[in-house]
C-alpha cells in the first residue's frame, strides 16, 4: 500500500477505531480524535520529504486493478496541484477537531463523520481514476450532510438538503461526462479507460476529440457546472450561505477550507487538460461568472447581519479571484489562482474558527449583539484583526500574493487580447479588492470597536491559551504565505505550467503525464528555459517535452485553436 493510500484511509481507520471507545467517555473520544488527526497530519508531512518540485508528473503513484473490464482501476497519485491540498486537508481537519472540543452532543458520532469526511476529501485530491474521483467526490457529501443536519443550527434541515441537492445535481452531469470520455478513449485506442492519464494522453495527441469535436463543449459544461457549484460561483452559490450558517464551526472550517477547493481543483485536474480545444472559447464565460461573483459576493456580504453569513458571501468573492486566476490561462495568473485556494483555506478557515470562538461564548453571531470587544478581549481582537487583514488581501499576508498574481495574469491575457478575455473584466475584478475592505472593516468595527454596552459582553474573558495557540498557528501561515510565498509556489509551479500548456497548446504540442514513475526520467520534465537558472537550452526539444520559455509564459504559445476552426475542419 502506497503512502497516499495510507494517508487517505488512515482517517477512516480512525473512525472505525473510535467505535472501540465507549460513547460515554467523551473526553477520551476527543483526545483520541485529536491525537489521530495529528497523526494523520504527521504522516502526510512525510510527503514533503520525497516530493519533487521539478516535475509535473504524478508522484507517489499507485495502480491496482479493480474493475478491469470497465477500465476502472484504483489509481492514486499527486502532483504539485494536489500536493498542498492534501496537506491543507490534513492540517485543517486537525485544527477543526481541536476546536471541536466544544462539541458536547453525540460526540463520538461527530468525530466519526469528520474522519469519514477527511478520507473522502483526501481521496478526491489523490485519485487519478475518474470513477474513483467521482466516488470520493460524492462520498464527501454524506458526512457533511450529517454534520450539518445533526449538529447544525435552527434551519439545519433546510440547509443540509439544499447543500446536498445542489452539489449532487451539479455532479450528476459530470458522471455522464466521465463515461462519455471513457468511451471516447475506447474509440480512439480500442481500450476502455477511466484513467485521466490515459485519456489526457489521447487528448494531447489530438486523437480523442478527432471525431467528436462537437461533444467537447457539452462535456466541458458537464464538468464545469459540477465544479462551479462546488466553488461556488455565481449563480450557483446560494447553498453556501445557508450551509455555513447552519453548520457547526468545524464543519464551516472544512467546508470553506477544503470542500470549496474541490471545485477549483476539478477545473485544474479535469477541465483544463481534457477540453483544451474549447477552453479558450469558454474562458470568457467562466471569467465573467467569476467576476460577477467577486462583485456580487462582496456587495451582498456588506449588508449581512450575521458574521458567518458575511464570511460565507466573502467566500463567493474570494473564490471568484481563484477562478479569475485560473481562467486567465496565464502562468502568473494560474499560479496565483491556485495559490489563492490555499490562502482562502487558511484565512477563511481562521475566520470561521474565530467566529466559532465567540459563538461558543455568546451563542450568537449577530453584529448587533457585539461592539467594543477590543477592550474586553485584546488578544482575540488582535488575532482577528490580522486574519481579517489577510482576507482583505494586505501585502505581507498570504491573501495579497494570490490576488495580486491572479489579477496580474488576467491583465496580461486580456491585454494581449488572448482567449477573448476582456480588459474591462480584469479591471472590475481588481475593483473587488476595494469592496473586500468595505465589508470586512465594517464587520470588524461592528464587533470590536465602539463602546462595550451589551451587559452580556462585559463579563467576557479573553480567549484561553489553547485557543490562542490554535489560531496562532493559522496566523503563522498567514505571514509565512505572505512574506515567503516561494515555499508554497515552487512545488506547484511545474504542474501549473504543464496544466496551462495542456490547456492552451494545439494538439501535438500538449504535454502529457507519464504513466509510471519509471517513465518520468525517460520521458520528460517541465523545462524552465533560460529563466530558472540562466542556462540556455541548446538541444532541440524532444517531441513531447513541455517547455516554459519566457516567450510563452506571458502570452499564448500560439493563438490557440478555436472552436470554429476545428468545426470547419
Amino acid at each position: 500500500m502506497g503512502i497516499l493510500s495510507v494517508i487517505t484511509f488512515l482517517p477512516l481507520l480512525g473512525a472505525l477505531l473510535l467505535n472501540l471507545i465507549p460513547s460515554s467517555k467523551t473526553s477520551t473520544v476527543k483526545w483520541a480524535a485529536l491525537g489521530w488527526s495529528l497523526g494523520v497530519f504527521a504522516v502526510s508531512l512525510t510527503l514533503l520529504k520525497d516530493f519533487s518540485s521539478n516535475t509535473f508528473h504524478f508522484q507517489f503513484t499507485e495502480n491496482i486493478e479493480w474493475m478491469k473490464g470497465m477500465g476502472i482501476a484504483y489509481r492514486m497519485g499527486i502532483d504539485g496541484i494536489s500536493f498542498w491540498l492534501v496537506l491543507l486537508t490534513t492540517f485543517l481537519t486537525a485544527i477543526s477537531i481541536w476546536f471541536s472540543f466544544y462539541v458536547n452532543d453525540r460526540v463520538k458520532q461527530y468525530f466519526v463523520w469528520i474522519f469519514v469526511l477527511e478520507t473522502a476529501m483526501l481521496g478526491v485530491f489523490c485519485s487519478l481514476d475518474m470513477v474513483l474521483f467521482y466516488s470520493f467526490f460524492e462520498a464527501s457529501l454524506i458526512p457533511m450532510y450529517f454534520l450539518i443536519s445533526i449538529w447544525g443550527g435552527a434551519r439545519r434541515a433546510y440547509a443540509s438538503k439544499k447543500f446536498f441537492i445542489y452539489t449532487f445535481a451539479g455532479s450528476i452531469f459530470m458522471l455522464l461526462g466521465m463515461i462519455t470520455l471513457a468511451s471516447l478513449h475506447q474509440k480512439a485506442t480500442g481500450t476502455l479507460s477511466f484513467s485521466i492519464i490515459d485519456i489526457q494522453a489521447q487528448v494531447a495527441n489530438g486523437k480523442l476529440w478527432a471525431g467528436a469535436f462537437q461533444l467537447q463543449a457539452w462535456l466541458f459544461w458537464s464538468f464545469a457546472v459540477a465544479f462551479l457549484v462546488k466553488c461556488p460561483a455565481f449563480p450557483f452559490h446560494t447553498w453556501l450561505p445557508d450551509a455555513h450558517v447552519e453548520a457547526p464551526t468545524a464543519g464551516s472550517i472544512i467546508l470553506a477550507g477544503v470542500l470549496l477547493k474541490m471545485g477549483t481543483y476539478g477545473f485544474l485536474r479535469f477541465v483544463m487538460p481534457l477540453f483544451p480545444d474549447v477552453i479558450p472559447t469558454m474562458a470568457p464565460y467562466v471569467m465573467t461568472l467569476a467576476v460577477i461573483g467577486i462583485i456580487y459576493g462582496a456587495i451582498v456580504a456588506a449588508i449581512q447581519p450575521d458574521l458567518k453569513k458575511l464570511i460565507a458571501y466573502s467566500s463567493v468573492a474570494h473564490m471568484g479571484f481563484v477562478l479569475v486566476g485560473l481562467f486567465s490561462l496565464n502562468h502568473t495568473g494560474m499560479l496565483g489562482g491556485t495559490y489563492q485556494q490555499l490562502n482562502h483555506g487558511i484565512s477563511t478557515g481562521a475566520l470561521f474558527l474565530l467566529v466559532g470562538l465567540i459563538y461558543e461564548r455568546r451563542h450568537t453571531r449577530m453584529f448587533t449583539e457585539f461592539g467594543g470587544l477590543k477592550a474586553q478581549m485584546p488578544i482575540y481582537a488582535t488575532i482577528f484583526l490580522i486574519v481579517m487583514l489577510s482576507s482583505v488581501g494586505l501585502p505581507g499576508t498570504n491573501g495579497f500574493i494570490g490576488e495580486f498574481m491572479a489579477l496580474m495574469g488576467a491583465f496580461e491575457s486580456s491585454f494581449a487580447g488572448a482567449y477573448g478575455l476582456n480588459l474591462g473584466l480584469a479591471v472590475i475584478a481588481a475593483c473587488g479588492v476595494i469592496l473586500a475592505a468595505v465589508y470586512l472593516l465594517y464587520m470588524f468595527m461592528q464587533v470590536f470597536y465602539g463602546p462595550n454596552n451589551n451587559p452580556e459582553n462585559q463579563r467576557l474573558k479573553d480567549i484561553k491559551p489553547w485557543e490562542i495557540a490554535i489560531s496562532g498557528i493559522l496566523v503563522v501561515f498567514i505571514f509565512w504565505g505572505g512574506i515567503y510565498p516561494n515555499t508554497f509556489l515552487k512545488p506547484m509551479e511545474a504542474s501549473i505550467g504543464a496544466a496551462r500548456l495542456m490547456a492552451v497548446s494545439p494538439a501535438g504540442n500538449r504535454p502529457s503525464w507519464a504513466e509510471s514513475d519509471h517513465e518520468i526520467d525517460a520521458k520528460m520534465n517541465l523545462v524552465y528555459a533560460p529563466n530558472r537558472d540562466g542556462s540556455k537550452i541548446t538541444e532541440p526539444l524532444k517531441g513531447n517535452e513541455a517547455v516554459l520559455t519566457p516567450a510563452n509564459l506571458h502570452f499564448p504559445v500560439k493563438q490557440a485553436t478555436n472552436l470554429e476552426a476545428n468545426l470547419s475542419r
Binding site: 473522502a120 470513477v131 458522471l175 446560494t238 477590543k374 452580556e456 516561494n486 506571458h554 502570452f555
Partner: protein, 733 residues
C-alpha cells in the same frame, strides 16, 4: 545579500524600527509594568533615532560618490526573493539613491522628533505601548515604501502605511466616530491602490511583452524593478501615447488616494480623529507625500505624457483651491491644518505636473518641516487647552504658552510665504516652473500657465486662512474659554451607568446556566479588577493653560529652526535640485525656472510677496481683534460662503450618501431580490426534488443503514456507470 557591500548598513535603517515594533508589540506592556512608562517610550524612540543616525552616515557616503554614477545606477541591495516564479521575479530589494535617502532622512528625522514629542503627548494614555507599536510599524512600512527597488515592494509599504494610518486614526476606538473615520481612510485609499495596482499590471504587460525587442534581460523577470524598468520605459512608451497616458493616470489615481487629492481627498480631514502626533507624522509630513515620491520615481512616464501631466496640474490646482476655501469654514484647529495639508499637497502636484519633479520633492521637504511644526504646535495648544480643539474657545494664548506660540508663528510665516523662510523658496519654485513651462498641455492649451496663476491666488488664500488660525489662537482681546461654565454631571452619569451594567450583567449571565468553560469573569474577579477611571479635565472658565513639557517643546524648536532656515539652505546653489536630478530630466531637458514676461512687468517674486502680504493683511484686519461676531457659536449667522465651506461645499455628503446609501440599496436588492427570490426561487421551485430526496435522506438518517450510506452511493455510482457504459458501447455499434 547581494549588492554593494558598503551600503549594507541600510538593513539597519529598516531593521531598527521593525525591531522597535516587535519590542513594543510583544514586550511593551511588560516593560511598561516593570520599568515604567518612560522606559517603554524611550525604547520606542531609540530605534528611530538610531535609524536616523545610520541614514545620515549612508547619505554622507552617497553624497561622496560620483554624482553621475550615483544617479544612473542606484545602489541596489537584495535580501531575499519575495515572489519568484518563472514569469516574474520580485525580490525584496532596496534602492539607495538620492530620492530614497532624502525621504529616509525626512521619515526618520522628523519621525524621531515626533516620537519624542509623543512620549510627552501620550503620557496620560492608557494604551501607551499600543500607540508606539503602531507608530514604529508605520516608520518601518514607510521606509519600505521609499527604499523598495520595485513597485511591488513600494506597494507593501503603500498599503502598510495605510493600515498603520487606519489603526492610528481609530486609536481611540471606543468612539465609533473615530473607527468610522479610520474605515473611510482605508477604503478611500484602497480606491487609489487599485489604480496603482492596475498601473503596475500595465507596466508588466508592457515590459514582458517587449523584452525581446528591447533586449531586456528576460532571465531576471524583474519587470517591476526600477533598475530594469526605468531605463527602458522612455523607448517603450515612445509612439504609444495612449498606453503612456493610461499608465500615468493609473499611477496618479494611486497618488490621489494616498496624497489626498480631489476627488479622493475625503479621508484626510476625517483622519484628524487620530492623536495629534499621528496627524503630524502620517497625515502631514510623511505618508501623504508618498504620491509625490511615486511621481518622482516614475517621472519618465509623466514626462512622456503631456496629457497626464496636464491632468496632474489641474487636479493639483483644483485641490489646492478647493481645500483652501474649505479651510475658511473650519473652527477646529486641526481641521484647518488638515485642509491646509490637502491644499499644499495640491501645490506639490502642480509642480510635478509642470515637469518640475524636484520642486515637488522640495516642497515635500519644506512642508514636512513647517507642517509637522504646525501640527505639533497645535497639539501643544490642544494639550494646554484640556483637549479642546475649537478655536472659538481660544484667544490670547501667547502669554501662557510662549514657546509654542513663537515656534508656531515661524511655521505660520513659512507656510504663508514670507521671504527667507522655507515655504517661500519651495512655493516660489512651484509657481515659477508652472508659469514658465508648457509641458502640461491638452490639445494646445497650456494648463501649466493657468494653474500657475491659480497657485498664486491660493498662496494668497493660504496666508489669509493661516493668519486667521494663528490670530484666533494666540491673539485677540478675550480669553474665550473664560465664558464656559464648569459642569460635572457627565462623570456622575457615567458612574451610574457602570453600576447599572454590572447589575444587569449578573442577571443576564445567570440565565445561561453554569459557565463550565470559564468563559466569563466571576463577580469576585470583576471586583478584583483595577477600576480605571479616566479623569477628564474639561475645559472651563477656571482653566489656566500651561506650557508643554520639555519632551514636547524641544521638537518644536528643532522644527522651528528647520522651517526657518531649511528652504534657504536647500535652494542655495541648486543644492536640492542637483542632489535629486544632477543631470536634469531625460526628456524635458529645457525646463525653465522662472517666467520671463509676467503682466505688469513685475517679477514673480514681487507677485508672491504681494499675494502673501495681501493674505496676511486681510487676515489681520478681520481677526486681529479676535473672533468676529459672525463667525461665532451661532453658525446660522455665518455667511453662506462660510457655511458651505464648513460642509466642504456638499461634496463629502454627496459622496458618502451616494456610496453608502446607494451601496446599501444595491446590496439589499441583490440579497433580498436576486439571491433569495430569483435564484433560490428557482432552486426551491424544484421543490418536489428536494422533498423527495429529503424523504430518502430522512429515512436513511432514522434507520441503522446510516453507516452504509456511503457504500450505497458507491454502489449506485457503479450501477449507473455500468448502464451508461452499456448504453454508449451500444450506441457506438
Amino acid at each position: 545579500m547581494e549588492g554593494n557591500q558598503s551600503f549594507n548598513l541600510i538593513w539597519l535603517v529598516l531593521g531598527f524600527p521593525l525591531f522597535g515594533f516587535l519590542i513594543q508589540s510583544l514586550l511593551g506592556k511588560r516593560i511598561e509594568k516593570a520599568f515604567g512608562r518612560r522606559v517603554a517610550g524611550f525604547l520606542a524612540v531609540i530605534p528611530i533615532v538610531a535609524a536616523f543616525g545610520v541614514a545620515v552616515l549612508l547619505t554622507k557616503q552617497l553624497a561622496g560618490m560620483d554624482a553621475t554614477q550615483r544617479a544612473e545606477v542606484g545602489v541596489v541591495q537584495t535580501l531575499f526573493s519575495w515572489i519568484k516564479i518563472a514569469s516574474i521575479n520580485i525580490p525584496f530589494e532596496v534602492r539607495i539613491d538620492t530620492l530614497s535617502m532624502t525621504m529616509v532622512l525626512i521619515i526618520t528625522g522628523i519621525g524621531s522628533l515626533i516620537h519624542l514629542y509623543a512620549t510627552g503627548y501620550m503620557a496620560e494614555e492608557k494604551d501607551y505601548t499600543r500607540f508606539f507599536t503602531y507608530l514604529n510599524l508605520f516608520i518601518a512600512a514607510m521606509l519600505i515604501l521609499v527604499l523598495g527597488n520595485n513597485l511591488a515592494l513600494l506597494f507593501i509599504g503603500w498599503e502598510g502605511v495605510g493600515v498603520c494610518s487606519y489603526l492610528l486614526i481609530g486609536f481611540w476606538y471606543k468612539d465609533l466616530a473615530n473607527s468610522r473615520a479610520a474605515n473611510k481612510a482605508f477604503i478611500v485609499n484602497r480606491i487609489g491602490d487599485v489604480g496603482l495596482t492596475v498601473g503596475m499590471f500595465l507596466l508588466v504587460v508592457l515590459l514582458a511583452g517587449n523584452k525581446d525587442k528591447l533586449g531586456i534581460d528576460g532571465a531576471s523577470g524583474r519587470w517591476l524593478s526600477y533598475d530594469v524598468m526605468l531605463p527602458h520605459l522612455g523607448e517603450l512608451l515612445k509612439g504609444n501615447p495612449g498606453m503612456t497616458t493610461a499608465i500615468a493616470l493609473c499611477l496618479f489615481v494611486g497618488a490621489c488616494g494616498k496624497s489626498a487629492q480631489f476627488p479622493l481627498y475625503l479621508w484626510l480631514p476625517d483622519a484628524m480623529a487620530g492623536p495629534t502626533p499621528v496627524s503630524a507624522l502620517i497625515h502631514a509630513a510623511t505618508m501623504v507625500t508618498s504620491g509625490i515620491v511615486l511621481l518622482n520615481r516614475m517621472n519618465i512616464v509623466f514626462q512622456m505624457s503631456p496629457v497626464a501631466s496636464a491632468i496632474v496640474c489641474i487636479v493639483g490646482a483644483f485641490t489646492a483651491l478647493f481645500a483652501a476655501l474649505i479651510a475658511f469654514g473650519q473652527t477646529d484647529i486641526k481641521k484647518v491644518l488638515a485642509y491646509s495639508t490637502v491644499s499644499q499637497l495640491g501645490f506639490m502636484f502642480m509642480a510635478c505636473g509642470a515637469g518640475a519633479y524636484w520642486v515637488g520633492m522640495f516642497h515635500v521637504t519644506t512642508h514636512a518641516f513647517f507642517k509637522a511644526l504646525l501640527f505639533l504646535g497645535s497639539g501643544a495648544v490642544i494639550h494646554a487647552m484640556a483637549h479642546n480643539q475649537d478655536m472659538r474657545n481660544y484667544g490670547k494664548l501667547f502669554k501662557y504658552i510662549p514657546i509654542t506660540a513663537v515656534t508656531m508663528f515661524i511655521g505660520y510665516f513659512a507656510i504663508a510665504g514670507i521671504p527667507g523662510l522655507s515655504g517661500f523658496f519651495s512655493k516660489e519654485a512651484i509657481l515659477g516652473y508652472a508659469l514658465a513651462n508648457d509641458h502640461a498641455q491638452i490639445s494646445g492649451v497650456n494648463f501649466s500657465y493657468i494653474v500657475g496663476w491659480v497657485g498664486l491666488g491660493v498662496a494668497m488664500l493660504t496666508a489669509f486662512y493661516m493668519t486667521r488660525m494663528t490670530l484666533l489662537t494666540f491673539n485677540g482681546k478675550t480669553e474665550q474659554w473664560r465664558s464656559i461654565e464648569p459642569h460635572h454631571h457627565d462623570e456622575h452619569d457615567h458612574a451610574h451607568d457602570d453600576h447599572g451594567h454590572h447589575d444587569h450583567a449578573h442577571h443576564a449571565h445567570e440565565d445561561h446556566g453554569p459557565d463550565e468553560h470559564g468563559f466569563f469573569y466571576t463577580d469576585e474577579e470583576l471586583a478584583a479588577q483595577p477600576h480605571e477611571h479616566e479623569h477628564h479635565h474639561d475645559l472651563d472658565k477656571n482653566h489656566t493653560p500651561h506650557e508643554v513639557p520639555v519632551s514636547m517643546w524641544v521638537p518644536l524648536v528643532v522644527l522651528g529652526v528647520l522651517s526657518a532656515g531649511g528652504g534657504y539652505v536647500l535652494a542655495n546653489n541648486h543644492l536640492f535640485e542637483h542632489w535629486l536630478y544632477p543631470n536634469g530630466l531625460s526628456v524635458l531637458k529645457e525646463l525653465e525656472e522662472h517666467p520671463h514676461h509676467l503682466p505688469g512687468g513685475l517679477s514673480l517674486m514681487a507677485y508672491s510677496i504681494i499675494a502673501a502680504g495681501l493674505g496676511i493683511v486681510f487676515g489681520a484686519i478681520i481677526y486681529f481683534r479676535g473672533l468676529p461676531k459672525k463667525e461665532g457659536w451661532d453658525e446660522s449667522k455665518w455667511s453662506p460662503f462660510r457655511r458651505a465651506a464648513r460642509d466642504q461645499f456638499g461634496y463629502d455628503n454627496a459622496m458618502v450618501s451616494a456610496s453608502v446609501d446607494g451601496g446599501r440599496d444595491l446590496a439589499t436588492f441583490s440579497w433580498r431580490g436576486l439571491d433569495a427570490t430569483v435564484i433560490d426561487g428557482a432552486v426551491n421551485g424544484s421543490g418536489w426534488l428536494a422533498t423527495g430526496i429529503g424523504k430518502v435522506l430522512g429515512w436513511l438518517q432514522n434507520g441503522f443503514i446510516r453507516a452504509y450510506a456511503a457504500g450505497m452511493l458507491l454502489g449506485g455510482v457503479a450501477i449507473l456507470g455500468y448502464l451508461a457504459y452499456a448504453l454508449f458501447t451500444g450506441v457506438k455499434k
